[in-house]
C-alpha cells in the first residue's frame, strides 16, 4: 500500500484514479443502507451482478453498491446512471430486465417506473421524484456516487482535498475563522456555534487534546447520522481530521451506538484505509500533524449521547452525565480539552473548507445557515432522510416532500427533536426550520427527527410513550429525572387507562416544570418537553381522556371499542385477514363483525379498512366504565 507523504501524492493519486476509472456506458447504483438491506437491497444487488455477468456485460455495465440515498420508503431501489433513471420497490426477479433494457439499451422498463398512485403520472428520473424535487442535498447527495467501502471512490471525487487545503494553505486559526464565518451550528441538537466551540478547544490549556464524533444517535425516530456514517464515512473522518488540526488535537474517537452495526463497520474500514494511506497517524500528508482515531461502541444506553456521559463511557465508567461547566472543550476526556461534535456537524466541515464559508451560508436563515438533514417518518406518505435549506417551513417538508398525510387521514401534529422536543399542531406547521423559530414555537430542532402524526395518533399516548422512554433511559444519577419521569409516566398511565382525575393534570404539569428546572443534564431537563408541549397544544385531548373517559384518536385501548358499521362494510375481508386474533367473522361480500370478547383492540383492522370505505371504527367503550379507584367523577 502506498503512503501519501506529500499533498502532491494525493493529487497524483486522484489523477491516476480518474484515469484508471473504468467508464462503463452505464452504472446501476443499488442503494443499500440498513433500511435498503432490510427491504432486500443486497439480494437485488446480487441479482443485478449475476445478470451483468451472465450476459458478459461486465465492461459495459457497472454496478455500484452505495449507502442510503434517503427514500427509504421506496426501497429496495436503484438508479441507472448517467441518465438517473429510478426504479423502486424491486425484487431480485426484476434485475435481468433492468440490466437488459435500461442498462444495455437505455430504455425504460415501464412497469417498474415510480408512480405515486395507480392513476398518477409516471416519474422516470430520480431528480423528478416528488420526494427529491424540493430537497437540497449538499451532504447526502454523495451517498449515491460512492461505495462507502472504497476510499478510492471518495478520493477520486475530490475527497481529502479539503484536508490538504486546510493543512497547507490555511493556518489553524484560519480554519476556525472559516468555520465561524460559515455560521455552522452544531447539528446534534443544541445548535452551539461550531467555530466558537473550536476556538474554545484551541485556546484551552492542557495536552493532549481530543476530538470526538458523537454518533450515539439514540433519538427514537431519527437516523440522519446513520445515513452519513454508513453512506459516506470518509466525509465524517475528513471533517474530524480538519477539526483536529484546527484545535490541535492528537487523538480522536468516534462513539457509535452498537445498534448501528453497518455504520460501525464502515467507519472502522474508513479509518483503516485512511491510516494505511497516511491520512491518519504521524505526519499526515507530510505535515507536522499527528492524529489518529479510534472507534468506540456504545451499548444501548440513550444517556451516553449526552456529551459528559459519552466522555465517561469512553473512559470506561458508567455513562453518567456530570454538571457543566466545565465544558468538555476545557475539561473533557481524562480532564483534557475535548472538542465534541455530532456526525452531521463533522461532515459539514469538509464542504465549508472546500467551497468556502460564503457558499455554506448562501442558504439558510439569518441565524441558522446551511442545510439540515431530517428524518421524516411516521404517518406521512413518503418517509426517509430529507435534506433541505434551513428556513423552509415544516409544512414544506411534510406536504411537498413527504406528500402529506396517509390516504384518508388528516395530519394532526409533528413531533420534532425526539424525546427532548415537542409536538407542534398541524395548524402551526408554517414555522420555519430554524433553531430559534422552532424553540419559540415550543419545540426544538434537536438532531432532526420529524415524526408526523395524524388523527390515528393520540397525543396523550405519544406523551406517555416519551415519558416511558425517559424513565427507562434515565441514568438515575439525579432524583428529579429518576423519580420525576417515573411519576409523570404513572400519571399518564392512569390517564390513558381512564383512571385519572382532573387534579392529575395539574400534578403532571407541576412535575414537568420541576423536572425541567431541577434535572442535572440536558436529557433530564428536556424530558418534560413532550408533556409540556402536548399540554400546551392538545389539552382538549387530555381533558377528553380525563373528564369524558374517551380517547378521541381511538388509540388508548382501555377507552375504545372497535366496531364495523354494517351500512358501510362491503365484505372485502381485508380486516378479517389482518386480524391477529381471528376476532373478525364474515363471509366474502357480506357484512363483517368484530367479536368484542376476542378483540385485542390492536387497531390493525382500522388501518386495513380501505380509505374510501372506513367501515371499521374505534369509538368509546360501549360497556359500563370501571369506576376510578380514587377522586371524583365528572357528573
Amino acid at each position: 500500500m502506498m503512503r501519501l507523504a506529500h499533498p502532491g501524492h494525493l493529487e497524483d493519486w486522484r489523477a491516476r484514479l480518474r484515469e484508471e476509472a473504468s467508464s462503463p456506458a452505464r452504472t446501476i447504483v443499488v442503494t443499500a443502507g440498513t433500511c435498503g438491506r432490510a427491504s432486500g437491497a443486497m439480494e437485488l444487488a446480487e441479482a443485478v451482478r449475476a445478470a451483468i455477468e451472465s450476459r458478459g456485460l461486465s465492461g459495459r455495465i457497472g454496478l455500484l453498491i452505495t449507502g442510503c440515498h434517503g427514500y427509504c420508503e421506496w426501497e429496495p431501489s436503484l438508479v441507472v446512471q448517467p441518465e438517473g433513471y429510478f426504479y423502486g420497490r424491486l425484487g431480485p426477479a426484476d434485475a435481468a430486465e433492468i440490466v437488459e433494457k435500461t442498462g444495455l439499451q437505455g430504455r425504460i422498463v415501464e412497469r417498474l417506473v415510480y408512480k405515486e398512485g395507480p392513476r398518477s403520472k409516471a416519474v422516470t428520473h430520480l431528480a423528478d421524484l416528488p420526494f427529491y424535487r424540493k430537497q437540497l442535498r449538499r451532504l447526502t447527495e454523495a451517498n449515491l456516487r460512492l461505495d462507502p467501502e472504497r476510499i478510492e471512490d471518495y478520493v477520486q471525487q475530490g475527497g481529502y482535498g479539503a484536508l490538504a487545503k486546510a493543512f497547507f494553505e490555511m493556518s489553524a486559526a484560519g480554519v476556525i475563522d472559516e468555520i465561524k464565518a460559515s455560521g455552522l451550528r452544531g447539528r446534534g441538537g443544541a445548535g452551539f456555534p461550531t467555530g466558537i466551540k473550536w476556538q474554545l478547544g484551541r485556546d484551552a490549556a492542557g495536552r493532549p487534546k481530543y476530538v470526538v464524533c458523537n454518533a450515539d444517535e439514540g433519538d427514537p425516530g431519527a437516523y440522519m447520522d446513520r445515513g452519513l456514517l454508513e453512506g459516506n464515512p470518509h466525509s465524517v473522518l475528513e471533517g474530524m481530521i480538519i477539526g483536529a488540526y484546527a484545535v490541535g488535537a492528537s487523538e480522536g474517537y468516534v462513539y457509535v451506538r452498537a445498534e448501528y452495526p453497518l455504520a460501525v463497520a464502515n467507519i472502522r474500514r474508513a479509518i483503516e484505509r485512511a491510516r494505511e494511506l497516511g491520512l491518519l497517524g504521524e505526519n499526515i500528508l507530510g505535515s507536522e500533524v499527528h492524529f489518529d482515531v479510534q472507534v468506540v461502541q456504545g451499548a444501548g444506553a440513550f444517556v451516553s449521547g449526552e456529551e459528559t456521559a459519552l466522555i465517561a463511557s469512553i473512559e470506561g465508567r458508567r455513562p453518567h452525565p456530570r454538571q457543566r461547566p466545565p465544558y468538555p472543550a476545557e475539561s473533557g476526556l481524562w480532564g483534557r480539552p475535548t472538542t465534541i461534535n455530532n456526525v452531521e456537524t463533522w461532515a459539514s466541515v469538509v464542504p465549508i473548507i472546500d467551497r468556502g464559508a460564503g457558499w455554506f451560508a448562501s442558504v439558510g436563515t439569518e441565524k441558522s445557515k446551511g442545510t439540515k438533514i431530517f428524518s421524516l417518518v411516521g404517518r406521512v406518505r413518503r418517509t426517509g432522510l430529507v435534506e433541505v435549506p434551513m428556513g423552509v417551513s415544516l409544512r414544506d417538508i411534510i406536504d411537498d416532500i413527504g406528500g402529506g398525510a396517509l390516504p384518508g387521514r388528516t395530519l394532526k401534529a409533528v413531533q420534532t427533536g425526539g424525546p427532548s422536543g415537542g409536538c407542534l399542531p398541524a395548524a402551526g406547521l408554517g414555522v420555519a426550520v430554524d433553531f430559534e423559530a422552532l424553540a419559540r414555537a415550543g419545540s426544538i430542532m434537536g438532531s432532526g427527527g420529524l415524526i408526523a402524526m395524524d388523527d390515528r395518533s393520540c397525543m396523550v399516548d405519544v406523551a406517555r410513550f416519551f415519558l416511558g422512554f425517559a424513565a427507562e433511559e434515565s441514568c438515575g444519577k439525579c432524583a428529579p429525572c429518576r423519580i420525576g419521569t417515573r411519576l409523570m409516566r404513572g400519571i399518564l398511565d392512569r390517564i390513558v387507562a381512564g383512571l385519572a382525575v382532573n387534579s392529575d393534570l395539574d400534578r403532571l404539569e407541576a412535575l414537568a416544570v420541576t423536572v425541567q428546572a431541577a434535572s442535572l443534564c440536558g436529557l433530564g431537563r428536556t424530558s418534560a418537553n413532550p408533556v409540556l408541549s402536548t399540554l400546551r397544544y392538545f389539552r382538549d385531548e387530555y381533558r377528553a381522556h380525563v373528564e369524558d373517559r374517551v380517547c378521541p384518536a381511538g388509540v388508548c385501548r382501555a377507552l375504545i371499542s372497535l366496531t364495523i358499521d354494517p351500512a358501510l362494510c362491503t365484505g372485502c375481508g381485508l380486516c378479517r385477514k389482518i386480524c391477529p386474533v381471528d376476532a373478525i367473522a364474515g363471509r366474502p361480500k357480506t357484512v363483517h363483525a368484530i367479536d368484542p370478547a376476542l378483540c385485542i383492540k390492536c387497531g390493525a383492522c382500522v388501518e386495513a379498512c380501505p380509505p374510501g370505505i372506513r367501515a371499521v371504527r374505534s369509538g368509546p367503550v360501549q360497556a359500563e366504565r370501571k369506576a376510578p379507584g380514587r377522586g371524583r367523577r365528572r357528573s
Partner: protein, 157 residues
C-alpha cells in the same frame, strides 16, 4: 477463568486500561453471545478495576447480557416512528403468541423476546429484528407468523 469461556486471547489483544473495558465486553459478548459472570474477575484484573466496578458498567448498558441468548432472538423496535405505526401492538401480540413478556425467554428456551428503543430504521417501521435480520413494515399478524415460523423450523430440525 472458566474453562468453557476462554477469554485469554481477547484480553491478550486488548488494552488494559479502564477505557478498554467496554470494547472487551463487546468482544466477549460477540463471541459467546453473552458476558458470563464467571469472566468478570479476570476482566476486572486485566483493566485494573474491581469486579463490582466492572459489573456496574456491564449492568448499566442494556445491550450486554449476563445470560446466554436463546437460539432465536426477536427484538421489537419501539422507537417513536414504530410506535405511531403500531409497534406496541406488535410487541403485545408477540408476548401473547409466545406467552412471555418482553425481556423473557419462552418456556422451551428457544426464543428471547426483547424490545429496543429505536434501531434507526424508522422509515420502514414497525420493524422487527429477528436473529440479526430486519423485517420491515410488520403488522401484529405478520409478526406472529414470523415467530411461529421460527418454531416450525425448530420442529423440522
Amino acid at each position: 477463568m472458566s474453562d468453557s469461556f476462554d477469554i485469554r486471547d481477547i484480553l491478550h489483544e486488548a488494552g488494559s486500561r479502564p477505557r478498554d473495558l467496554v470494547g472487551i465486553l463487546h468482544r466477549i459478548q460477540d463471541r459467546f453471545g453473552h458476558v458470563p459472570a464467571s469472566v468478570l474477575p479476570a476482566v476486572a484484573k486485566h483493566v485494573r478495576m474491581t469486579s463490582s466496578e466492572v459489573y456496574g458498567v456491564l449492568s448499566f448498558y442494556p445491550r450486554f447480557h449476563l445470560r446466554p441468548p436463546a437460539r432465536h432472538v426477536v427484538e421489537v423496535c419501539l422507537g417513536t416512528a414504530c410506535h405511531v405505526r403500531g409497534g406496541d401492538a406488535v410487541a403485545e401480540e408477540l408476548g401473547r403468541t409466545l406467552a412471555i413478556r418482553p425481556g423473557e425467554t419462552t418456556t422451551d428456551g428457544q426464543i428471547d423476546l426483547r424490545t429496543v428503543n429505536c434501531l434507526g430504521c424508522c422509515a420502514i417501521g414497525p420493524v422487527l429484528h429477528v436473529d440479526g435480520r430486519f423485517e420491515a413494515r410488520v403488522t401484529a399478524g405478520r409478526a406472529r407468523e414470523i415467530v411461529l415460523g421460527l418454531r416450525r423450523v425448530e420442529r423440522k430440525a
